[in-house]
C-alpha cells in the first residue's frame, strides 16, 4: 500500500479501565480505506469495548482514536455522520414499525424523505414484507437484520459490525455477506467482529486479534494462516503393508498416513523422508490450514506464555 491512501481508522494506545479491570490495554490499530478488517478474540476480549469507544458510546480511559483523520472526541458529530454501527445486542423499539424506525433513524442523521433508500435496504435485507410490523413482532434474526438496515440508512463510509450474523440463518448469512462485499466494493470500510471464523477468513483482508484487552496479532489474513498453521498432508497407500526403510513410529491408519509440514517446507522433502515405494503411493491430498486453526494456535501460544 502506498502512502497516499489515508487511514480511515487510526487508533493509538487506546486504554480502557473499568475500575481495576483493564478491558483494553494500549491498543493501536489502523485500517485503510476500503478494507475489511476483522476483529477477533474470545468472549470478553474487549471487542465490543473497542467498537463502543469508536462510536462515542463509552469514553476511553486514555489514548486517542481518529476516524477519517478526525479525532472522535473533538469532531464527534462530523465523525458520527459517517459511521454506521450494528451493535451486538438486539435493540427493541416498542411502539414503532420497522419503517418508522428507519425513518426516524434517517432523521437523526439529517436525512428527510429517505424512503427510496429505506426500501432498497429492506429489499436487500429481506425485510420488505415486514416493514409495517412492530419490532416486537419480528423474530430474533429479523431484528438483527433491522439493526443492519438502521446502520445503513445514512450510507456511512465506515461500517462497524459487532457480530452481525449471530442468530441469522445460513441463507441470510450468505446474502448478508454478499451485501457487505457489495458495500465494500463501493468503498465502504468495514470493521467486523464475529465468532464464525470461516466467515472472517473469506471476508477479511486483515485480522486483528484481541486477548484480555491486548492486541496480540494484526496481520494479513493469509499471512496469519501461513504463519500460525501447518499444512496437513494425507497420503493414501495401496495397502497397509510396511515397506523397507519405513520410519519407525509412523502410523498407518486405514491405509492412510497423516503428516504435518510447515508452510515453508517442500512436499518432496517429506516424501523422501518417508521412503514410500512409488507403487504403494495411491493419492496425496494437502489441506492448507485455516483461520480457525491459526486462531486456536495463536491463543494457545499466548496461554503458554508467562504473563
Amino acid at each position: 500500500m502506498n502512502k497516499i491512501v489515508k487511514n480511515i481508522l487510526e487508533v493509538n494506545q487506546l486504554h480502557k479501565n473499568y475500575g481495576d479491570f483493564t478491558a483494553l490495554n494500549e491498543v493501536s490499530i489502523s485500517a485503510r480505506k476500503g478494507e475489511i478488517l476483522g476483529l477477533l478474540g474470545p468472549n470478553g476480549a474487549g471487542k465490543t469495548t473497542f467498537i463502543s469507544i469508536l462510536t462515542g458510546l463509552i469514553a476511553p480511559t486514555r489514548g486517542s482514536a481518529s476516524l477519517f483523520g478526525l479525532d472522535i472526541q473533538k469532531h464527534a458529530l462530523k465523525v458520527r455522520q459517517q459511521v454506521g454501527l450494528v451493535p451486538q445486542e438486539i435493540v427493541n423499539h416498542g411502539f414503532f414499525t420497522i419503517n418508522q424506525v428507519l425513518e426516524f433513524q434517517s432523521g437523526y442523521y439529517g436525512i428527510r424523505n429517505n424512503q427510496k433508500h429505506i426500501d432498497y435496504l429492506l429489499e436487500r435485507l429481506a425485510l420488505t414484507e415486514h416493514k409495517n410490523k412492530l419490532v416486537s413482532e419480528l423474530s430474533g434474526g429479523m431484528r438483527r437484520r433491522l439493526l443492519i438496515a438502521k446502520a445503513l440508512v445514512h450510507s456511512p463510509s465506515l461500517l462497524l459490525l459487532d457480530e452481525p450474523t449471530a442468530g441469522v440463518d445460513v441463507d441470510l448469512r450468505n446474502t448478508l455477506w454478499d451485501f457487505v462485499r457489495d458495500l465494500n466494493r463501493q468503498n465502504v470500510t468495514v470493521l467486523l467482529t464475529t465468532h464464525y471464523l470461516q466467515e472472517a477468513e473469506e471476508l477479511c483482508d486483515r485480522i486483528a486479534v484481541l486477548h484480555h484487552g491486548t492486541l496480540i496479532s494484526l496481520d494479513n489474513t493469509q499471512e496469519m494462516i501461513k504463519n500460525l498453521t501447518d499444512r496437513e498432508v494425507k497420503i493414501k497407500l495401496a495397502s497397509s503393508t510396511p515397506w523397507p526403510g519405513m520410519p519407525a513410529g509412523l502410523e498407518i491408519e486405514d491405509k492412510t498416513i497423516k503428516c504435518r509440514i510447515a508452510h515453508g517446507d517442500a512436499i518432496g522433502k517429506l516424501l523422501t523422508k518417508l521412503k514410500i515405494p512409488m507403487e504403494q503411493l495411491e493419492d496425496i491430498t494437502i489441506s492448507e490450514g485455516n483461520l480457525e486453526e491459526a486462531f486456536v494456535n495463536l491463543l494457545q501460544q499466548h496461554r503458554n506464555k508467562p504473563q
Binding site: T55, G56, K78, I90, N92, G94, F96, Q105, G107, Y108
Partner: protein
C-alpha cells in the same frame, strides 16, 4: 454537519417523542386528566363551601389553576422519564448517542415534547374546570392574562421536561425515578400551593416553602389565570425563568455526560 441536518435531527426526535405519548394516549393523557377531574369534583365542587376561601377567591376558582400547574409539571416530568427509561430497556436510547445529534438538540427535543404533553393536559384541565365553574356559577371563569398564562405554562413544561430528562439519564432503574417523583417532586408540588395559599401555613412551613421553586411557578400560573395569588409576577416570573435556565444547564450536562447504555 449543517444547520439543516441539525434541525432535521431535532425535529425527528421531537416528532418521535410526541408520537410516543400519543400512541399510549390512555396512560399519558386520559388517566392524568381523570385524576385532575376527580380533584376538581371532590375539592372544587363538593367541598368548596366547607373550605375557607384562599387569596380571597372561592375554592373552585382557587384550585383550577393549581391543578393546571400540577398536571403540567407532573406530566412534563413523567414524559421525559418514562420515555427514556423505556428506551433504556429497549436499548434504543443509545441510538441517540451514536447519531450526530447535538446535545442541545436532544435536550430541546425531549423538553418540548414534554411541554406539548403538559400543555395538552393543562388545557384539558382548564376546560374541565371551566365546565364545572359554569355548572356551579352559570358563567365561565375569565382568564386574567392569557399571554402570561401561556408563558408560565411553557416555562413549567420546559423546566420539568429538563428535570425529567436529567433524572432519567442518571437513573439506573425505574425505582430510582419513582423515588424522585414520590419523595421529592410530589411533596414539592403538594406543598407548593396547588391546594392552598401559603398564607394559611404555620410560620415555619411558610418559611421553608420559600425555598420551593415550584411555589413561584404555581403562583405565577394562578396569578395569570385569576389576577390574584400569594406573589405577583414581578417576583415569580424572574424566579421561574432563572429556575428554567438552571434546569437547562443540568439537563445539558446530563445529556452530555450521562450514560446511554441499556439496563
Amino acid at each position: 454537519m449543517t444547520m439543516m441536518n441539525e434541525y432535521t435531527g431535532f425535529i425527528t426526535l421531537f416528532r418521535k417523542e410526541c408520537l410516543r405519548f400519543l400512541k399510549v394516549i390512555g396512560q399519558t393523557i386520559f388517566s392524568p386528566l381523570i385524576s385532575s377531574t376527580l380533584y376538581l369534583l371532590i375539592f372544587g365542587v363538593n367541598l368548596a363551601d366547607k373550605i375557607t376561601s384562599q387569596n380571597g377567591v372561592n375554592y373552585l376558582m382557587f384550585i383550577i389553576p393549581g391543578l393546571i400547574a400540577m398536571g403540567l409539571i407532573n406530566n412534563a416530568f413523567q414524559n421525559s422519564t418514562s420515555s427514556i427509561i423505556i428506551s433504556k430497556f429497549h436499548g434504543d436510547f443509545q441510538d441517540l448517542k451514536i447519531a450526530p445529534l447535538s446535545t442541545s438538540s436532544i435536550v430541546w427535543a425531549y423538553a418540548l415534547a414534554a411541554t406539548f404533553r403538559g400543555v395538552i393536559i393543562g388545557v384539558a384541565v382548564a376546560m374541565v374546570g371551566e365546565l364545572f365553574y359554569w355548572v356551579e356559577y352559570d358563567q365561565f371563569l375569565p382568564i386574567s392574562n392569557l399571554f402570561l398564562l401561556f408563558l408560565y405554562i411553557l416555562l413549567g413544561g420546559v423546566t420539568f421536561g429538563f428535570l425529567g430528562l436529567s433524572v432519567a439519564i442518571y437513573a439506573k432503574n425505574f425505582d430510582q425515578v419513582s423515588a424522585v417523583s414520590t419523595f421529592i417532586l410530589l411533596p414539592l408540588i403538594y406543598l407548593g400551593g396547588v391546594f392552598f395559599s401559603i398564607e394559611t401555613m404555620a410560620p415555619i412551613w411558610k418559611f421553608l416553602s420559600q425555598f420551593n421553586p415550584l411555589l413561584y411557578l404555581i403562583n405565577g400560573i394562578r396569578y395569570s389565570f385569576l389576577g390574584v395569588s400569594d406573589f405577583g409576577p414581578e417576583l415569580t416570573l424572574p424566579l421561574s425563568i432563572g429556575f428554567m435556565f438552571l434546569t437547562y444547564g443540568i439537563a445539558w450536562l446530563s445529556v452530555k455526560r450521562g450514560t446511554y447504555s441499556r439496563f
